[in-house]
Subunit: 324 residues, 2 copies
């Protein structure tokens, strides 16, 4: 029986064995730089844990898990261009360290390498894996496009926002779990349940991230809070405040989000005041709990013992119980 | 028996049935715009012709052929950003008509859709198809990276240049043919031969393109000649001239290619004079013929009758016999 740490190590080893240290260096150096950055490897870990949970051999899921991690990092690489993000995990992003063209092309190559890894999976499972993987890839792109669209739009509502984070974040977590289940030979019903579990958990996870960005303890959260507010991001908190606050707070919030060149600190402080006055923190916590509860229900319906489900449950709890 | 025109129509129909007319419009409009542009559909046609030649049903190759065409158009979309190309087939490129972010993300989505199409192929063939497709995708990216590198480098030699065009152009033509052969159930040896045929034909095709860019008849060639010279592209013609010309012509050529802000017309005229004085046109024609001859040898070694090979041979001749 492999521990979660064993699985994490397997992923790290698999990424180290990739054929990405070749010529031309201008293409492969940014790829190595990206994949060497570490990180939690949450998505491949979910795939391996899912395979193990459904009684499969995690080694058989390693190519697909590796594919998922490479794909995820490819999306970050291109997203960083689009979002003009200078830093990721404390280091220069690829487009900053090199340039936009390098980031485009290295990302494309990572996408191709991801599919190359996926194709090393059990041939009998490959058609199903491809179906999940390609649909998810398309949906992640759709999520990113909605995120871009929402920046310019004043028509964003809460359900649209939830759909955006579902596509941009949750479906890849869900697909990771489903891919692990397919490889273990889980039946279709369980594959669907574990997908829904991941999707609902993923939405809760992203809402939690939004909440921490506003109300997190910077020491624990690991990055400066208020970033979404400074960037005028129409997160769940903002949309909920617009919907539930009175017209005075609502108008003030819109005004604060419509202009740039505010004094950032004052702006964050005032927005947080409006959020607090309108109980946005507890509204958001309740919504997170709603999605988390549905996820728990999805997990409970899977035809396995609680004992076998325990490691995944622990990981899910860990994902959500970040302090703020 | 399907004619080439039938096959062309099948490709057009397949592209029209793609699920790319969805929301978000910001993502899918550029994809429809790109795929609606027409073009020769050379690569998917090669795949279908190959399947037919090896006795398979072209309909079975249609998902893979569609995948190839979408992939090819995705690479063009990202290449146009990298090359800052404002026009393609007489229309604004996606990054010009929309913006760089849209072009990145729509391209990524096309890449995912391409794999989605490929995965509709016969499940038994899918692992082999994936192997060819992903390796080819990586190689095309490598080719584009070498092309970028060569712009800045003064160390480019002829064999490096041939390798670059092999990766950037030839391997996708080769892979298209091999994918068609795999789907028809051709044996491994024939799959390899048809690949080599495509690779050598592809190199000849690109060298021909270089030649036409310098010496083509603008009316027949369909675009303004001299573009490579104005852009200081280190094509086969330039590299061959540097190698075979005396030091005086060589130094002058380097000087002409090192500066911008030349009078373009005068520069093109002087470069063509140097090319002509050093027989570069006939050197290039001979090299094209060399690659074409190897391609013909590859084709001749395939275990099929000449009659069955005739349509592919005709297409290959058509690709090379563009007048200049």
């Amino acid at each position: 029986m492999f521990s979660n740490e064993d699985l994490h190590q397997k992923i790290a080893d698999s990424l180290k064995q990739l054929p990405v240290y070749n010529e031309p260096a201008g293409l492969y150096e940014p790829i190595s730089y990206t994949l060497d950055q570490g990180g939690k490897r949450l998505r491949p870990l979910l795939a391996l844990i899912s395979t193990r949970m459904f009684g499969g051999n995690p080694d058989k899921a390693l190519p697909a898990a590796t594919a998922i991690e490479i794909f995820h990092n490819f999306t970050l690489l291109h997203d960083d261009i689009i979002d003009q993000a200078p830093l990721r995990r404390g280091r220069d992003t690829v487009y900053k360290k090199w340039n936009i063209n390098t980031a485009i092309l290295s990302g494309d190559t990572m996408f191709a390498i991801a599919f190359g890894q996926l194709s090393k999976s059990d041939p009998e499972k490959l058609p199903d894996l491809m179906k999940v993987f390609t649909q998810t890839a398309v949906e992640v792109c759709e999520g990113q496009q909605y995120d871009i669209d929402f920046e310019e739009s004043d028509q964003v509502n809460i359900s649209g926002y939830i759909n955006m984070i579902r596509l941009k974040t949750a479906v890849l977590l869900a697909a990771s779990l489903k891919i692990g289940a397919i490889i273990a030979g889980a039946d279709e019903e369980d594959c669907e349940k574990i997908y829904l579990f991941g999707e609902n958990l993923g939405i809760a996870f992203q809402l939690q991230d939004d909440l921490l960005d506003a109300f997190g303890d910077e020491g624990v959260f690991g990055k400066k809070t208020g970033g979404d507010i400074v960037a005028n991001k129409k997160t769940y908190l903002y949309l909920k405040a617009l919907k539930s606050a009175g017209s005075e707070d609502g108008e003030r919030l819109k005004a604060l989000y419509s202009k740039r060149n505010h004094n950032d600190e004052e702006k964050v402080a005032e927005v947080l005041e409006i959020f607090t006055r309108n109980n946005i923190k507890s509204f958001t916590e309740n919504t997170i709990l709603d999605y988390y509860s549905v996820a728990m229900k999805n997990l409970s319906e899977i035809k396995l013992t609680d004992e076998v489900k325990a490691p995944l449950l622990l990981l899910a709890e860990g994902m959500l119980k970040r302090k703020y």
